[in-house]
Point group: D2
Chain length 340, copies 4
């Protein structure tokens, strides 16, 4: 039995980790932190988990890290790097924030508006896209969870760049995402009255996950790759769907993806021509990918769907933690999606 | 042409007033105030109204009330009474807050937690339930808009108390309400992720609209009447549905309501046994009422549905303003509901 | 390892059973039937389950029941009784339809509009409310799953009748339910355009689950009990919330419910005065119950929330099947609710 | 006062026409047809319109067209052409079906799977995109309403092709649409349980509105133009949002659109860099267009939002009917959007 701590447990990704760990046979939650809500029972903050025997919320400084094997850090961006820097050397860390995703300090500064506070750690962090960094994750001390939009775009495109089946200069990622990705903070724009019954693009041509796309696509292609990327906010809670416009032979793309993901436990490539739905991965760690031919020769449309709180963040985090702790990679992650 | 001002125009009831007035032939908006958003164009705050020629938002103190006939006051409770107290004597006022709904200073202090700041005005305010105070409203300087839940419960029950067809000690109002009634303030509990796909009671046995029920029911019955009332929050934006359990003969209740509302432009009594839906009054000033017999003899179930932002607040406010300004009562209010 | 068959697997309760059994360590699905969709892969009908290794859909007559321990029957009402009558004697049965819920043939004929086709079986069926029929279920061949609305009302009220803490003649159950309870059949009234953004009562004073309430409440009280019951359709997929108006001392009611359910794995009584939400039980087998005092002395309001597809039907069915098969009652049912 | 008839009045576009005409000063509804629902009161089929004085539903053959000036035909595709062919010569017709949108009989046969039944009429029909066919519509006997997706894509792109500011071979239209566009027919895929909380592409590279895009874009460009087009179904009722990827200078594109639509009453171009939302046009006849620069030089992203039932079909139909009847083009269409 391994002991973990969740820092920043009062947000949605924290609660999702607790939900997943409740079904995990080898991990025990030793502490849950949430600064402003310290002292509260967890069930008072997330009533859907009130049946679970859990430690009350505490402040980070109250946590005794003796015997703790791994820390899930679900703190806000910028806060995360300062807290992680101060953690004792014996704990492994899965960070769900954006702080350690970009390896290049300059890229970090560009996308996040200032210098990094833990440059040494940044150098050693492993990017948490399990399907592409599995071996490094197994031996990492610090793994940086990917952006949820980034994961949705990277999984279908990386194998196609690797196989040189698409034109790297002609990649358009049009993406729709549910509202839970914006977190539990009280913002006018995320009110039910503002979100429901409507749809709208945001962060046009400027979303921070572009930094992750640039980093990973360029690395895979062996030369600079810049994609076009437009996210939209959907009137639903969970789920991201990417619709990706590519230059390449659709059948060949499909075959490459089928081959690449045949043995992956959580990435499922649909039969040619079928499109995935976010509702068919909700609450699960699965990513479903579809490929169709455009009516214009030499062009393909690729779809990718996952649950932003599971495969897009907390499920991915647990998948990585399992590897880092020497456990079965899929432990605690096999639950079927919830539909309807 | 009459001139009006809307104070507190950056909230949902303010925007609903602007929407309704855009279709009104005899009223011109002279100023729109919103303290924290002063200086902004109205279309920047409510992009659905950006096609309208409207004054920019300003601070109250910047408004010249010369030539203003009527003020709609959509400010928060407590703020409203202080602002209204200071308005020039020549303007008429329709207040959409709770500040002038209760005539009894003690009842006000009990439900709103402190003494009233404008006791003299409070005495003269007319309760804005048009169908029961039409003549007083016509001659009032200050009309206090009803609570949206209160309106939904009062309209079906008052005629039955008046006709002495029900037992005043056995009234249970179970009510579900859309989330727009909570306003545009950023609150965690009103986020899309918190509201959608779930339902829950709130303010159990303690909702402030009980004060209005007590006042109006007791007045009509000629003796103290206390109802049971449980509101619930629904995963939808607009609409309130009251399901009311009563002791009385259902057919007689239905007949009394049909007779009472036959000539009212905005209250529609359905055929016996039919139940109204909030979706069939959305965006309109209509209230639909239904009556059915319980399977237990001598008991009836009465339903009442309206749109909380229209008949429940801003539509009612305009209906009253029309009367106060000597205009056709239904001017600007005849739009059909929006479905689906 | 036990073998089960699911008849009528193309509906929502069938899919929910498959979802739950995917996480069950001791049960294997041997066959899945769906007459009109026979021949299709299960993942073509429910794409969220396409990652599971499952038998394709078949016709009932194609199933070899040799070695089958238990049949889940998720067929439509009326069809169910004819099919179950013809099942081989060695299989145990959990029926999710309404066919065997009422023990009295006359009551059955009254509520379901005709005589029962399997009267002998009807006599032996055990009512599937686990918390009240656990021992009989353990030894039953045929268990009749409760109505989902019925379960929501019975769980909080039965212990209060048992303890004689409430007036049996003054029970009002006001209930709101998500749309998945209406099944997957294509009906105009269940379209997204018809259901979303609106709420409405249905089956007023005539819902068939009244038959179950009458049967179980009268049995518990030892004399005829008739409740008032009004269900409403909500714009959400899963979840039932009952708001129950009772005569009795709220504190005593709360204490009785706490005591009654202290050792039950799936019924959770909230602290006094708190109200449950359907969103906090979604996708789980939990029922959350709350008790509050009305402002009128001697009156109480009791709330009960569960997921209609889980504790209200398929979760309950699995809980009962576990008992019938000599397994741990909660096996496969411990997943935490999905929120948001 | 002009007299109109609505054929196929039991669907959503029919009801939307009735809603709009209820606020029109110069048009009277003389008959409403709906074959299977003939004999019913209109309020029984659409309870949100029960307050209106309307003729009951009838069969087409029962209608006396004497004195009828114009027929709105909201019948299903294929049925429409047969019915319209048989209408008396004196009535003008606005057809909301797809039957007369394509001018080329071969294109029609290709997209709709068979020969046209009214070839002569097809030749004379005017395409109903008011902003581009205003003069022809004014003098037309038969106007073919555009597809709702088609309108959303045509309005922002046509002026750019006209001004030769974009590469006609590099147009990608990614589009999301609410569910009301699928009509009121009972289909499993449109159930609330299937649609809510999920998103998915459909009709990939094969949607029939491609026929309209091909026709209008090629005509405007003076040479064949084929776009890529992927529609998605959204969990909301009304609204279409197109996100369009183009090659061209974003600022120049914006300037051209501003200039082109400056005097149009219903097309509103947002300030550069802003994106429209479907929620800000709901229930209205407005189309909002936004233009932003991609981060890749020489590429632009253009957004277009409208309400599929209003500007996308029934509002457009009334706009055209106003022209055909010699009335003010915007009569009955000035209502502000409904938000929230």
């Amino acid at each position: 039995m391994k002991n973990v701590v969740i820092l920043g447990a009062s947000g949605y990704t924290g609660a999702e980790l607790v939900r997943l760990l409740a079904g995990h046979s080898g991990i025990k939650i030793k502490a849950l932190s949430a600064d402003r809500k310290a002292g509260l029972e967890y069930g008072a903050v997330f009533p859907h988990l009130r049946h679970l025997p859990l430690p009350s919320l505490c402040k980070i400084e109250e946590i005794d890290f003796t015997g703790v094997d791994l820390v899930f850090c679900a703190l806000p961006h910028a806060t995360s790097q300062r807290v992680i820097k101060a953690l004792p050397a014996h704990v492994k860390i899965v960070d769900l924030s954006a702080d350690f995703r970009l390896r290049d300090p300059e890229a970090y500064a560009q996308w996040y508006g200032g210098p990094h506070a833990a440059l040494e750690l940044q150098k050693t962090a492993v990017y948490g896209l399990t399907e592409f960094y599995r071996d490094e994750i197994r031996h990492a001390r610090l793994v940086a969870g990917t952006g949820c939009n980034a994961a949705t775009g990277l999984l279908p495109i990386l194998p196609l760049l690797e196989a040189k089946l698409i034109d790297p200069d002609e990649i358009i990622i049009d993406l729709v995402t549910g509202v839970s990705g914006a977190g539990r903070g009280a913002k006018e724009a995320m009110l039910h009255s503002e979100v429901s019954e409507g749809t709208q693009a945001y962060a046009i041509a400027s979303h921070r996950h572009l930094g992750e796309f640039d980093q990973e696509f360029s690395k895979m292609a062996g030369r600079p790759v810049k994609v076009s990327f437009t996210p939209h906010l959907l009137p639903q809670n969970r789920g991201i769907l990417a619709t990706i416009y590519l230059r390449g032979e659709a059948k060949a793309l499909h075959a490459a993806l089928v081959a690449r993901y045949r043995d992956e436990p959580f990435v499922y490539v649909l039969p040619f021509g079928e499109a995935p739905s976010t509702r068919h991965v909700r609450g699960s760690n699965y990513c479903q990918i579809g490929v169709a031919a455009d009516r214009k020769p030499g062009r393909a449309i690729v779809f990718s769907a996952l649950d932003n709180l599971t495969k897009g963040s907390s499920g991915q985090a647990l998948q990585n933690a399992n590897l880092m702790l020497g456990m079965e990679e899929s432990e605690g992650l096999n639950m079927a999606p919830l539909f309807p």
